[in-house]
């Protein structure tokens, strides 16, 4: 991991995060599709 920020026009970092319903989701597995990431917090 690098401290460089990823800006618009750059590649989305290939992260793997745990799914709330179990298992994991890897962003790179969605390549070939359009994606909307919606970040939110209950706080």
């Amino acid at each position: 991991m690098t401290a460089m920020m990823t800006d618009v026009g750059q590649m989305l970092p290939d992260l793997t995060l745990p799914r709330l319903d179990g298992g994991e989701l890897r962003f790179a597995d969605l390549r070939g599709k359009k994606m909307l990431l919606f970040m939110w917090g209950s706080w």
Binding site: F27, K34, M39, S42
Partner: protein, 206 residues
């Protein structure tokens, strides 16, 4: 969340995925009631350690990030992104139609961190997470507070500190009045300490 589920159900196609990213320092259980209420057919992932906020550089939520078929980020709005704002929905619609989503809004932060400062913030966040995972909570909070002094407008970090120091204000319910008062008080202390002025917080030593 219910609004996005409605949107997703209308536009769902093989070529579009909506991913909800719950920024929850205390784990996925805090997000669960909101998700279960909306019965979404899109997945929610949990970013417990603020990995996406560090990598993408956002300091608040809710956010929308549009990524194209090649994995390129085409548009991002950090803070205030909402299904209830027609201008935000319109950008997503344009993108799905294959049009240019247009320029991204600029994050409203009264300072810019240089690359070395960002690296220092990131290092302190990661060191804090490591210490926290070793049950050295006090030392973790010290690192997170140091990161916050470098990036005082970063609400993602500030709330991570709060959740660690005052877990009772986040579980079982979130005490919004406490948060407002706490933010006000911390801001006053920071202004008094010369960290932040009334116009915002300059980068220390700059």
């Amino acid at each position: 969340m219910p609004g996005w589920q409605h949107f997703y159900a209308q536009r769902r196609s093989d070529n579009f995925e909506l991913i909800s990213v719950a920024m929850e320092h205390t784990g996925g259980d805090a997000a669960r009631p909101f998700v279960e209420q909306a019965h979404p057919t899109f997945p929610t992932v949990v970013d417990e350690h603020g990995v996406t906020s560090t990598l993408l550089g956002f300091k608040a939520v809710p956010n929308g990030v549009l990524v194209d078929e090649d994995g390129l980020i085409r548009w991002a709005k950090y803070g205030g992104f909402s299904i209830d704002k027609p201008e935000d929905v319109e950008v997503v619609e344009r993108f799905l139609r294959g049009e240019d989503p247009g320029p991204s809004p600029v994050q409203d932060v009264p300072y810019t961190l240089g690359p070395l400062e960002r690296e220092l913030v990131d290092s302190k966040l990661r060191l804090g997470r490591l210490l926290d995972s070793l049950n050295r909570r006090d030392e973790a909070v010290t690192e997170w507070q140091a990161a916050l002094r470098l990036d005082p407008e970063n609400l993602v970090i500030r709330k991570q500190v709060w959740a660690a120091e005052h877990p009772e204000k986040f579980h079982p319910t979130i005490d919004w009045d406490w948060q407002r008062e706490q933010l006000k008080q911390e801001r006053e202390n920071e202004i008094a300490a010369g960290v932040c002025g009334p116009d915002g917080c300059p980068v220390p030593w700059a």
